[in-house]
Amino acid sequence: MAIRINGTDVAAPDDARVSLLDLLRERLHLTGSKVGCNQGACGACTVLVDGERALSCLTLAVQMDGRSVTTIEGLGGAEEPHALQTAFIEHDGFQCGYCTPGQICAAAAMLREIEAGVPSYVTLDLTAPVLLSREEVRERMSGNLCRCGAHNGIVDAILQVAAERAA
């Protein structure tokens, strides 16, 4: 078995202590995923595991054997940017940019969660279709901190992409 990372198979490390984040950055040189707190508090290391958002800092790479990981490099780049990347630029969804890859990976998964009807803590009716609002986006993105305080632009960017998809 192997870990499929952005479509390429990579062998799991022999040392069980290697986190998925360290495998990505130190061994594969995929430095888009960032080391923020390295303890599950900031979301800068967010990647997609089998399409769902997860923290690569608290994931042991060996646990990913047989699974598929998508990083910001796999979502889009300068040539073919992801719709969220374009929207973050349009809405000033960052200043320093350190949290941005994690924000965009989290947002990509969040939009799929909304499409699947997954509720959040602020959803009033747990059984009705989810109505997207600023409050919903803020709650659903609370696992990604931005110390520059670009959260308003981040919410605007996400709402724009959600509206484009719904249209």
Binding site: A16, V49, E52, R53, V62, Q63, A106, Y121, R140, G143
Partner: protein, 327 residues
């Protein structure tokens, strides 16, 4: 982090064999264990990955739900039956951590969470009886805003951090356990231990045992919810949280279940308050009187005396909402 071996269990029996003896630890999503290994609080010699065991969510013959220990927190909260029949459980899970962590964390791992007390996590700088039995507790005389007001002991004042377990306590969930000495079922209210003189013994799970499933009986509550009060609006541990279920008929309380988070070393089922309220009127005065009785034994610390009034107000607000005619 110390060197550690990794094994993936393909069956319950294999997991039991692999973790038996030594300093092996069962590994779920890793959101707590990997963090504690990095901080040096946990130093297992081997990890047995049990995320490959059952994550099924199925209906039981009595009309409840059986949830495999490897089910992800997010999958449980999103499950249609959980959302429609156990809203307090869905809301409790959704109140916990972040979406990323809920995608990783398992049912079993959530139940086995260790305290989030900063002194417990500070290996180099603080004494902790839970980490090193007999060494002392620096939290009692330190920053204890987040610590317990009831059920604690001089040895340890840490709270249980889970939101999900608070709802499970109010729902009378049962924890199915397998082990070298056979299978058994532990009621959730008995699963976590109060610290007493041995805060290092956190649950009733014995060495060589593992959680295989959580059984939730049918809910008799007409309405239920979970409310969490915290220092920021999202992604923070509870100062006080309440899981409550209620059935009111002709102004009288027919069914009631109340559990608190954030105030005790374990999910705090408010049996005294429930008994006082059952059969009586669903009024704000009755809610307040019942909880005053429940918290009569509370012994707050200098940093968290506010939790008594906060618990009273939060419970009153939740029960008024559930009994109100607003819906």
């Amino acid at each position: 982090m110390n060197p550690v071996s990794y094994h993936r269990a393909s069956s319950i029996d294999q997991a039991i064999q692999m973790v038996e003896g030594g300093r092996g630890r069962l590994l779920g999503g890793g959101t707590n264990l990997v963090d504690l290994m990095r901080k040096g609080v946990e130093r297992p010699s081997s990890l047995v990955d049990v995320t490959t065991l059952s994550d099924a969510i199925e209906e039981t013959s009595e009309g409840g739900l059986l949830i495999g220990a490897a089910a992800r927190n997010s999958a449980v909260a999103a499950h249609p039956q959980v959302r429609s029949r156990y809203p307090m459980l869905a809301r409790a899970i959704l109140a916990g951590a972040s979406a990323q962590i809920r995608n990783m964390a398992t049912m079993g791992g959530n139940l086995m969470q260790r305290p989030r007390c900063l002194y417990f996590q500070d290996v180099a700088g603080a004494r902790c009886n839970r980490r090193t039995p007999g060494s002392g507790c620096d939290a009692a005389g330190g920053f204890n805003r987040y610590h317990a007001i009831i059920g604690a002991s001089p040895a340890c004042v840490a709270t249980h951090p889970s939101d999900m377990c608070v709802a499970l306590a109010a729902l009378d969930a049962r924890i199915q356990v397998a082990g070298t000495r056979g299978a058994r079922t532990i009621p959730i209210v008995d699963f976590h231990r109060l610290p007493g003189e041995r805060p290092d013994l956190e649950t009733e799970i014995e060495p060589g045992e593992l959680i295989v499933a959580v059984e939730i009986p049918p809910s008799h509550f007409a309405r239920s919810t979970y409310r969490k009060v915290r220092d920021r609006a999202s992604y923070a541990f509870a100062l006080v949280s309440v899981a409550a279920g209620l059935t009111v008929k002709a102004g009288r309380i027919e069914e009631i279940g109340i559990a608190f988070g954030g105030i005790a070393p374990k999910p705090w089922r408010a049996f005294k308050a429930e008994t006082a309220l059952r059969g009586g009127p669903a009024t704000a005065q009755a809610f307040e009187a019942a909880l005053a009785d429940e918290l009569a034994d509370a012994t707050p610390l200098p940093g968290n005396a506010f939790k008594i009034e906060l618990a009273q107000r939060t419970l009153s607000a939740v029960l008024s909402e559930l009994s109100g005619s607003d819906r």
